[in-house]
Each structure stands twice: as C-alpha cells, then as structure tokens.
C-alpha cells in the first residue's frame, strides 16, 4: 500500500458527515456570486444584445440610442477591447462577434445603473444583420461536410476481417441528444478594479485559472494583474468549465472602463440560449457477434454536434471514443470521430465529458441486438465483461475488472432481481396496457484528464500560531462536496479535529495555475496536494516534538489533536506544539503539489494509458410503461458503485444518486429542440426555459432507490484509498433507457428488437410501443439490419487530420510530462 493511500484508523477521513456548508445552505446564509453585489457600492449591471439569427453578418451596430435611455452608462463593443477579442482558449470565439454564429449570440453588452436600465438600453441598440445560410443539425453538417478540429481514430486489430467472419453482423444508427446543464445558479461574475489597476473578478467558475487567463488576454494584462475568486457555485456539472470566461471578461472590461464594479448575471433564458451544452451525437455502427453472443468487432463512426466553436469538443470526443467499449472486451475495434460545426451554442463539458455518449453507443448496440440474438440483454452484457489481463482498445490494461463483476452480482442479489423478473413476467402476462421491465447496465469509467497536463494540483495550507488551520486548494466547490473532503483530508493528515480546520474560498492568488475542477478528479488531485502540504508541515514539526517529548523523530505521531508516540502516555497538545514551533522559527505553512504518475497518452495515435484507474458500478432499474400514452415511471433502482474506500460516504452517496437522476433526465425527458424550419426562427432553441425544458422533479425520483458503496474497494496510490465519484454514476442511468426499451418490447411478440429515440420522452416510448406492436409509428433512425445491407460507417477522407493538441506538443518540446 502506498503512503498516499494508507489511512490511519478512526480518522476524520471516512466519517459520514454533512456538507461543510450545509448549515449555511439551509439558512440562506451561504453566499453565491450574485449575492455579493447587493453588498457592494456603486455596482453597474450588464445586459446583452442577442442576435435573432442563427448565422448572419453584423452590418451595422448603432449604440447611441442606448445611451439616451436613462441609467445607461456605457455600451461595450469590440472597439473597447484592449487585448484579444476572444472568450476561449482556442481563439475561435470572438467575445464581441462581427459574425453571428448562433441564435442568441451576444453582439454587445449594455451597462446600466440598474438591470432594468441595462435591459431597456439593450432594446434600444440598433443592429443590422445580413442573414447567411445556417446548419442546425448534425445530419445537415455531415451532408455539407461542415466539420471542425481533428478527426481521431481509435483502432485495434482488423475490424473488416473479423466482421466478415462473424456469425452475426448487425448495423444501425443512433441519434442521441444533448443536455442543458441547468445548474440552478446561472452564469455570474462580479468584477472590481482596485486603485492600482488590479482586477478582481468573483466568478461562478469551475476553472478559475482559465477564467483568469481569458480575462487577462481580453484586457491585455499579464496574469498577475488579474485575480479570480470562486466562493462556491450553485451547480456546475461541466457547464462552468469553459463557459464562465467570456462573461467574467465582459464584467472585467466594464469595470476597467468605468472604474465601477460590474455585475453580470445571465437570466435563465439567456443562459440556456447562450451557453454550451452536452454534445448530441450521431453514430453509425456495425457490430459482429459469435454464436454465444461475444462481441467480436465494432466499427463505428461518431459525429458530435460541436456547435459554432471548438471549445472542449476535441477532448470530449476523445473521451467518447475511449468509452465506446464501456465494460466490454471487443477484440477488434475501429472508431472514427469527428466534430460537426453547426450554428448552435458551442457544446462543451458536461458530467461524463463524452463518456456517456460513447457508452450509449455500445449499450444501444447490445440492447437492440440481444433480442435478435435470442439472448437476454443482461446475459449478453455479462458475457462480454472484461477479464483480467485484457486491454482497452487504446492499449490500457484494465485493472480490477473483477470489480465490475462484483458490483453486478451484488446488484442481482441485493436487488432480488431473479424473483422480480418472475414477478414482472407474470405482471406483463396479466396486463395488456401496462408493461414492466428490468434492465441492468454496468459502468467502467476512466479517471484522469485525458489531457495529461491537467493531472496536477496545488494547495496552500496555513497553520496559525494558535494551532488553527486554513486550507486553500485549487479545486472549486459546486456542491459535489470537494471542500468537505478536503477538510477531512487535512484534519486526518495533521491529526487534528475537523473543527480546527477551515477552508478558504478558491482564489488564483493563493494557488496558481490550477486545473479545472472537472473529470471527477477534484478530490484525487487536490486531496493529494493538500496532504502533501500538511505532510511538509508535519515534517517540520516532528523535530520540535521529538525534542520536547524526548522520542525519536520518526516515532512522533499526530492524532486526535495531540502529538505523541504510539502507545506512549506522554503527549503534547497540537496547539502547544505549534506555538512552540513558531517561537523556534519553524515555517508553519506549506505549498503542496501533486502530479498523477504513470499516465501517458498520445492523442494523435489515440493510444496509451490515459487513466490512473477505472471506476466501476452497476445498476438495475425497473420501469413501468403505459401503452396508452408512453408515460412511464421508475419503480425501483438498485445501484452498487465503486468509490474506493470512501472519503465521505454521505457525499459519495449523494453524488451517485444525483448523478443517476441527472443521467436519467438526459435520457428521458430533457429535450433540447432547436428550430429546424426555414423561417426566421431557424436555429432558435424552442425549449429555452424551465417551463419548456423539463428537469427531473420529485415525480421522476425512483420510488425505491437503493445505493450501496462497493466494499473492500481500497484503491492503491490514491488519496486515502479513495476513488473519484463525480461523473461515473451518471452513466448508470443508461439502465433506465434499456429498461424502457425492454418494456416497450414487451408490448410485442418475444424477440422484438426496439429502437428507441433519445431522449426517450413519453412520446418516443409511445412510438416504440407502437412499433413493437407492429402498428407502425414514426421511425427515428435507420432500422437495425442483420447482414450486409445496412449502415456502413463512413470513413474519414485523406484530408482528415488526427488530434494533435498544442499542449502535448509543448510538453514534449520541453521534456516535461510523460
């Protein structure tokens, strides 16, 4: 066991404690970015002017009428930008665009003494547009060959030969939808400029360092002139990894130009119409099976809907390709990826980051082929699980594949699946209009940023003379409980009670050059950095204690707020030792650092070992479908999930449950509908409000919801033996979709293969039921075909270039990185 993962007995780590801010949340005292401006003097408010075209040139921008509106102070346009007019890291996202690239694109921003003045000012701005042709669906983009970025290919073996020899070959298509983050707190920033020109931006951001970078480049400043702070976020889910930067930059620009604080908060409809979402994908596939149902080969082409700019689309696509296998051994694989460029919001990170889309492809393949193979879908999944020693298609050895099996079998047992399957069969035999079904799906999810350089973190831990501890780290709190876990890590490492440790808000002037709090990696990376800082301090305190207690340096133990030796009676209180160390001029603070070892990844070849480890889980979901309407409910969900040795069980279970329900929302009722007509509304998002875009509510909560953490799951080499938890459980919700597919099939004769649109809204399920009954219905995609006459995944042409990230080029140049 490595020192990083070994855990002392009865430590704060592992205690099931509430969120560190829970008492502030429930009393309304917890402050979010938009709660700050009412406590700030002289604030100006920003409001955008949004373009009513999917694609157009701005031929005239006349701002003078806005300045006539009482209370309007200034209109910000491209002419005001002293640095680079761009909101992204790839220089393809003009902050103040001259070409409108999606319906609702903000062409300028109005600053007012009140939000009402800014709103009325924005209405008064005159803009002339020259509309241009637009592409609003992935299929249109494919037809027009409108792509952006690299076109990665992940390949192992000889797919064509294996398919030619396979007993069964099926082909099909899948159109899977995107998802709006719908964090309850919309994007928000509050910017100040101090007397020396130092810019201070409070932003609801998962990536303060990149927010700082973008603000600096827009303002033409060095990074040291910009500080970004994030108190906490009212939800992030990936939607605040890249998206906050531009809004922070607009607020900062306004503050530098007016000398007054500027608040920018998007309304819900602005947020939905302007910010990126989960990528929808189009997939074409061919899959070969042997007679026993073993997957032999998968040939697939995945096209993601990137929207108008590249944003994070390349790494999202890479992760999708790396998760097409999910938990299954597929000997021969060829997966091509490409990114459609469409006139929509720039799609971005969302919990799972391409992983869910990749997994959905193989689960769709299995779910549709199982009835045609005559094999129970759960059994088909189970026979294809990875075994020890096998490698993923990208060449990483799958460690701990037995954990997927353990999770699966525990779900079968604890969920009483066999008995319930019999009950379901008799229920279905007795009911003509209502059918039930139960589906199991597994999850294997790679942990670490595919982008190797991001796998580093910093922390700054202060021990004050009185023994109290203040922890800064590079991670942000968005509700996932990272700060709670970091308090537990610091208290455990220092051997002090939780009450001695306090967390400071995340700020770029405390810990610089941080990575996004993303990829589920927050606790792994920052926890190790916090632990490193704490250990440095202990290393300096040990000689002081050794001298005071008269024991060898390496016998000194820090635990429970005291310092002593194991089994020894003589102890000194932590505070007393700290005080003594101060007077001995011992440094009582330390900067911690961590980099994940053992990672290597070549994006160009799509090969290597990009992940520190895999997270495993399994879910069994039972649904009931009403044949009259397609309406359904989740009767019961059983989950067993691997979080290693949990750092904080209440937090981890919350992540699993919440991730599952969010995933169920994506796959069932959350429905992004863009106007595809050729009217002036083309490209407009028709579901741009809470009343039209429906999140799961209490009525979608599973009626019975059992979640267990996998036991004896110590993960060596990770902070206190734990595993990441943020993203993987979302994909357990694929079991909901598969259960709906099976319930729809139950309306038809045995062996019915059901194609189910995504999202599986009641309407989509209704048509699936109709088709299962042989009553026709609206087909959604190309039908499942066995043999050679079906879909043939398109292969890239000669001009397609692979991924070749600048980051990997730089790392190799300097010799840093692996």
């Amino acid at each position: 066991m490595t020192p990083l993962s070994s855990r002392p007995a009865s430590s704060p780590v592992g205690q099931s404690i509430p969120h560190e801010s829970a008492a502030l949340h429930v009393t309304g005292r917890a402050l979010y970015t938009d709660d700050l401006w009412v406590r700030t003097h002289g604030v100006l408010h920003a409001h955008p002017v949004q373009a009513p075209h999917a694609h157009a040139l701005v031929t005239r921008l006349h701002t003078a009428p806005a300045l006539e509106v009482p209370g309007v102070v200034r209109v910000l346009t491209a002419d005001d930008v002293p640095g680079v007019n761009d909101a992204g890291a790839k220089l393809d996202e003009p902050l103040f665009p001259s070409e409108v690239m999606f319906f609702g694109h903000a062409v300028c921003w109005v600053l007012g003494e009140s939000l009402e003045a800014a709103r009325l000012g924005a209405l008064a701005v005159e803009v002339d547009y020259e509309p241009l042709p637009s592409i609003v669906t992935v299929r249109q983009a494919i037809e027009a060959e409108s792509f952006q970025g690299g076109q990665p290919r992940l390949e192992r073996g000889d797919v064509d030969a294996r398919l030619a020899a396979a007993a069964h070959v099926f082909s099909g298509e899948l159109d899977l939808a995107g998802q709006e983050h719908f964090y309850l707190e919309t994007q928000c920033a509050l910017a100040h400029v101090d007397e020396a020109g130092q810019v201070f931006v409070q932003s609801s951001t998962q990536h303060p360092t990149e927010t700082q970078d973008i603000v600096a480049h827009v303002l033409g400043l060095a990074s040291h002139a910009v500080t970004v702070q994030c108190l906490r976020m009212g939800g992030g889910f990936g939607g605040k990894e890249m998206q906050p930067h531009g809004y922070a930059a607009v607020a900062a620009l306004g503050a530098t130009l007016t000398g007054r604080p500027v608040r920018l908060r998007l309304t819900r409809s602005q947020d939905i119409t302007m910010t990126g979402k989960r990528h929808g994908f189009h997939a074409q596939w061919r899959a070969g099976f042997d007679e026993a149902g073993h997957l032999l080969a998968l040939d697939a082409t995945l096209t993601s809907d990137g929207g108008w700019s590249l944003d994070l689309s390349e790494p999202v696509l890479a992760r999708a390709l790396c998760h097409v296998d999910n938990a299954y051994w597929i000997p021969d694989v060829r997966v091509n990826g490409r990114i459609a460029k469409t006139h929509k919001t720039s799609q971005t990170a969302f919990r799972g980051f391409g992983g869910p889309q990749g997994m959905l492809v193989v689960e769709d393949v299995l779910g549709r082929c199982a009835p045609r193979l005559g094999i129970d879908p759960s059994e088909l999944r189970r026979v294809n699980f990875y075994r020890a020693g096998q490698q993923t298609p990208y060449g990483q050895t799958v460690r701990h594949p037995e954990r997927a099996v353990t999770c699966w079998e525990q779900v079968l047992t604890d969920g009483g699946v066999a008995a319930r399957a019999a009950q379901i069969a008799s229920f279905n035999a007795a009911h003509v209009h209502t059918k039930r079904a139960l589906a199991l799906t597994p999850v294997k999810f790679g942990i670490s940023f595919n982008f190797t350089a991001f796998n580093q973190a910093g922390a700054l831990v202060h021990v004050y003379k009185d023994g109290s501890v203040l922890v800064n780290h590079g991670g942000t709190e968005m509700g996932q409980g990272l700060h709670t876990k970091m308090l537990q890590v610091a208290a455990t490492t220092l051997g002090v009670p939780l009450s001695s440790v306090r967390l400071a808000p995340t700020r770029t002037d405390k810990v610089p050059n941080t990575s996004a709090t993303a990829a589920s990696s927050g606790a792994d990376l920052n926890g190790a950095a916090v632990k490193d800082a704490c250990e440095q301090i202990l290393d300096r305190l040990r000689p002081v204690a050794s001298e005071r207690l008269g024991v060898p340096v390496d016998a000194v133990v820090f635990a429970g707020g005291t310092v002593g030796v194991t089994g020894g009676e003589q102890v000194v209180a932590w505070g007393d030792l700290v005080s003594q160390a101060y007077y001995q001029r011992v440094q009582l603070w330390a900067a911690g650092f961590y980099r994940t070892e053992g990672l290597h990844w070549d994006s160009t070849r799509m090969h290597g070992s990009p992940f520190k480890y895999f997270s495993y889980g399994a879910a069994a979901t039972e649904v009931e479908v009403d044949g009259f309407t397609g309406a359904y409910r989740l009767r019961r969900v059983d989950i067993v999930h691997d979080v290693g040795d949990s750092l904080s069980a209440l937090v981890d279970i919350g992540q699993i449950e919440g991730g599952f329900v969010q995933g169920a929302g994506w796959l069932t009722l959350e429905d992004l509908r863009w106007d595809e007509s050729h009217t002036p509304a083309r490209g407009r998002l028709a579901t741009a409000s809470a009343s039209t875009y429906k999140l799961p509510s209490f009525s979608e909560m599973p009626e019975v919801f059992n979640v267990a953490l996998l036991e004896r799951a110590h993960e060596d080499g990770v902070v206190y033996g734990s595993k990441a938890v943020g993203e993987p459980p979302l994909m357990l919700a694929i079991s909901v979709r598969e259960a709906l597919r099976q319930a729809a099939a139950a309306f038809g004769p045995p062996g019915t293969s059901v194609e189910l649109a995504s999202p599986a809204t009641p309407e989509a399920v209704f048509w699936a039921v109709r088709r299962a009954r042989g009553d026709g219905g609206l087909p959604q995609t190309a039908p499942l075909v066995e043999g050679g006459l079906g879909v043939v995944p398109e292969q890239p042409d000669a001009t397609a270039r692979p991924l070749h990230p600048r980051s990997e080029q730089l790392a190799r140049q300097t010799g840093a990185g692996d």
Binding site: G654, S697, S699
Partner: protein, 501 residues
C-alpha cells in the same frame, strides 16, 4: 379608495418599507435588494421554486396558514401589510429550524442554491394545519412501496410520510444535484412543531388584513382596492388595467417578456371574490380563491377537479393561481378549462351593470380572447350539480407533475346501466382554445358503454381539434393519444375487460 399608511411588509418579524420600490419589482428582487439573498432566482417563471418564501394567508376556521409562494412571480407591492418568512427567518446556523436540521444532516443540500426554497416549501407543509401522523394501517401503505396492492393506491413521488407530510408540497421545487431522495427522507423525518414554536402559534391568530395599497413608480402603479365596488370603479376608469390575482401568469410576462403596466389592480384579497358555496343545484367557486384553497374547500365534492388538481402545475403555483386568473388569461393549454367544459360550468362576470353568467363553452372566442368586456372581471364560476358519476382527467405531458399539457382530456360521463346517457368531454392543447369534443360526445350518447362504442368514438375523438407540432409533442402524437384516451378510460372503468389501444 383610501390607500393605507406607508406601504410595508413584515419580513421575518421586522417591518420593511416598500417606498421607493417600483410596482413592477418582484417580491424576490425586493427581498434580495434588502440583503435577504437566501431566496434565489433560478428561472423567474415559477418553475423551480428556488425563490420560495412563506406568506401568512387565511387558513381554514379564520386562522392563519403559512403558505409557500414563488416570490419571483408576485409583485412586492402585493405583499403590503402581509407577513413573510424566508429561510433566514426560520433559523440560524447555530439554531436550525427542524426543517433545516433534517435537510442539513441528511445530505439534502449539495450546491445549496435551491435549498432555501425547499426549506420554505417544506416548512409550509410542516406547519400545515391538517398534517398529522398517519395511523398504523395507513402507515403500512405509505411504507411499503414495493408491495403491489399498496403500489396502486399511491402516486409515485407524491407519497405521504408516516408523519403526514405530503411530498406534493415539494412538487414545485427543482434540485439538480441530489436526485431528491435525501430531501424526501428529511421531509418524512419531520416531527410535530414544538409547543413553543412561534410560527406554529401564529396559525391560531387571524391572518393579516388585506391592505388597501397604492404604490407608484417609473413603470406605473399598483393598486389594491378595498372592495369589489372599488375595483369595478377603478377598472371602469382604466379599462386597460392589468387584473392580477396570484400573478402566476403576469409575473412570467413581467420577468420573461418585459411586460410593464401603467396600472395593475390586485384582486387576490377581495372578499367578494373569495367565497365558496355549496348549494343543492350549484357549487359556486370564488374567482380569487387559490387553487389550493379550492381543493381544500371542496374536499372532494367535485371528483373531476380532485383528479385534476394534483396534475395542475405544482403546489407552489396552486398556492397562488386562481380560477379567475385561468379564465382571465385564457391560455389554450390551461388544464382547468377542459375540466370546466366537461363540468358545464358557467362564468360569473361582474361589472358596472352587475353580474352576468356565460357558459364556459361560450366564454372564449379565440386565442386568449373572450367575451369579457373591458370593464368586467371574473367573480366566480358556477358548477351545476348533481355531477356526472364517471369522470377522468387525462393529462399528457413529458413530466408527470408540474408540466404543461401536450394534450388534456376531461371526461364527465353519465352511464346508466350500460348505456351512456350523457357525455361531456373537454379538450386542451388541440386548438386555439380549450374545446368541447362535441362529435365524440354525440358518438357516445345513447349508446351502450362497450368496446365497440368506445372504439368507434375513439376514432371520432382522434379527429377532433387541430393539434399542432411543437416542442412539447408532434401533432401525430397528440392525435394518437386523443385516440387512446377513451380506450384508456374504458380500461380504467372496467378493468376486467380491457380494450386494446
């Protein structure tokens, strides 16, 4: 009219003046501008509940009921003279309210942004007068969710805790983090309010009186008249005035579409519009009663409405929304109108010339247009009794609760023996207004209630109205579920002889 003293709202026990507040300012923005930033804006249209606060409203038996409302929808001016409690007022981190304590310790908050709203919705249910622990037999039903028999008896996600907590109280609050399970557990773990709980004690006293209010600002005026005569006189002078009761529609117009009015007349506290009377041949429901008040006041007397209410928006919305408002705005997708059509209700309009009655079926003349004259307002609806014995409300929507219907079908059938004597069917979502399915009614009346009749009538029903394609549903789906609605009703009423859809 005579406006009261300086307009003022009592928030968490402290009077805060409304002077300087624009009449278009929402209660949420006003509270936040006063530093009470616990309530949040999540959607500004009453869908997410992050802005929920508790307001002291008249309860049954002349007491007070703590009622949760979406503060983003109601004008701050409408709270003049009222008492409001926010999450900050319920407890402090050192002295948590029981609701706050249960949520905090069970992982009921993750990001915490929706939490103050949940706290207020949950606290309102905590203090609900009729809430009491279930007795043992009922408790078994509530506990054993997997058991099939129990299963049919309860609505998913809207169960009731052993402590009498109705989960439906939280149907208007969205959480994007937790998946709701810990919030449910917190709700079901709540005890009875303590004997010395001041908010519990407040319930036994009279509710705050409705203040006559006049608030003027840049955008216009908000006026709360003292009585109906005052309101009618004011409306006569200003026929373009916006009439507002629960503000669940007007608030959305203000927030999302930038609507502003020179004059808003607040009707929601007028006693003349808040009566509920049950007679031998008619039940009259005041136009300004909230749907929650109607639901509790009727206590199941109109079964069709009882089936409708749990599917109508959310508790937070029903606590504000009124029948008068539904009729006043005339949205084609309102769920109430198909039911009122099936019930053959009449609208009572009142104005300078007194009352007049119009059948609901004749009330609407087009998309958001009606026969109401500019100087009239809706005073009540009258539902004739006896009621048809077989009723159903079929709502088709993406989400089971708090969603807008793709299609709504209200049935009121009088089946005598095996013959359909009388059929009244109201449809929503299939035309510019809610409509009666008259051809289908004709295809049913006088015929035996059999599979054959149902299938023939279902074909007719499928052709009623002119459904459209939109983001909620395709026209083909709307037609298809119109077509399955009668077979579904038949299956529900005669479970042993299921008609295939």
């Amino acid at each position: 009219m005579t406006p009261g003293l300086r307009p003022e709202v009592t928030v968490n026990g402290v009077g805060i003046g409304l002077d300087g507040t624009d009449p278009a300012t929402t209660a949420l923005d006003w509270l936040r501008s006063r530093g009470l930033t616990g309530a949040k804006e999540g959607c500004a249209e009453g869908e997410c509940g992050a802005c929920a606060v508790m307001v002291a409203r008249p309860g049954a038996d002349s007491g007070t009921e703590w009622t949760a409302l979406n503060s983003c929808l109601v004008p701050a001016a409408s709270l003049d003279g009222q008492e409001v409690v926010t999450a900050e007022g319920l407890g402090t981190p050192e002295r948590l309210h029981p609701v706050q304590r249960e949520l905090a310790r069970r992982g009921g908050s993750q990001c915490g942004f929706c939490t103050p709203g949940f706290v207020c919705s949950m606290a309102a249910e905590y203090y609900r007068d009729g809430r009491q622990p279930l007795d043992e037999s009922a408790r078994d039903v509530a506990d054993d969710a997997v058991d099939d028999a129990a299963d049919e008896a309860r609505e998913p996600g809207h169960g009731c805790g052993a402590n009498g907590f109705e989960l439906e109280a939280l149907s208007g609050n969205l959480c994007r983090c937790t998946g709701y399970r810990p919030i449910r557990d917190a709700a079901f773990a709540l005890p009875e309010p303590a004997a010395d709980d001041p908010l519990a004690a407040r319930r036994t006293e009279a509710p705050p009186r409705a203040a006559a209010t006049l608030l003027e600002g840049d955008s216009g005026r908000y006026v709360r008249p003292v009585d109906l005569a005052d309101a009618i006189a004011l409306l006569g002078e200003h026929p373009g005035a916006v009439l507002v009761a629960g503000s669940t529609d007007w608030g959305v117009e203000v927030n999302l579409r930038g609507a502003r009015a020179a004059l808003v007349i607040g009707l929601d506290r007028l006693a003349e519009l808040r009566a509920l009377s049950v007679g031998n041949d008619v039940i009259e429901i005041g136009a300004a009663l909230s749907l929650t008040e109607v639901e509790r006041g009727l206590a199941g007397r109109i079964p069709l409405l009882d089936k409708l209410f749990p599917q109508f928006a959310s508790r937070l919305i029903r606590n504000g929304a009124t029948i008068g408002g539904n009729l006043g705005t005339g949205s084609p997708i309102g769920d109430l109108l198909p039911a009122l059509l099936a019930l053959e209700a009449d609208v009572v309009l009142t104005g300078p010339r007194g009352d007049r009655e119009v059948a609901v079926a004749d009330y609407f003349t087009g998309y958001r247009r009606s026969v109401r004259r500019p100087d009239e307002l809706v005073r009540a609806v009258r539902v004739p009794v006896p009621l048809a014995p077989v009723t159903a409300f079929h709502k088709i929507a993406k989400r089971r609760y708090d969603d807008i219907s793709s299609v709504a079908v209200a049935f009121a059938l009088d089946i005598d023996g095996d013959v359909v004597r009388r059929a009244r069917i109201g449809l929503g979502g299939v035309a510019a207004t809610s409509v009666r399915a008259r051809q289908t009614e004709a295809a049913l009346e006088g015929r035996p209630w059999t599979v054959e009749t149902v299938h023939a009538a279902a074909d007719v029903l499928q052709g009623e109205g002119t459904p459209l394609d939109d983001h909620r549903a395709s026209a083909a789906y709307r037609r298809a579920v119109l077509g399955t609605s009668l077979p579904r009703l038949y299956a529900e009423t005669s479970p042993r002889q299921e008609a295939s859809a």
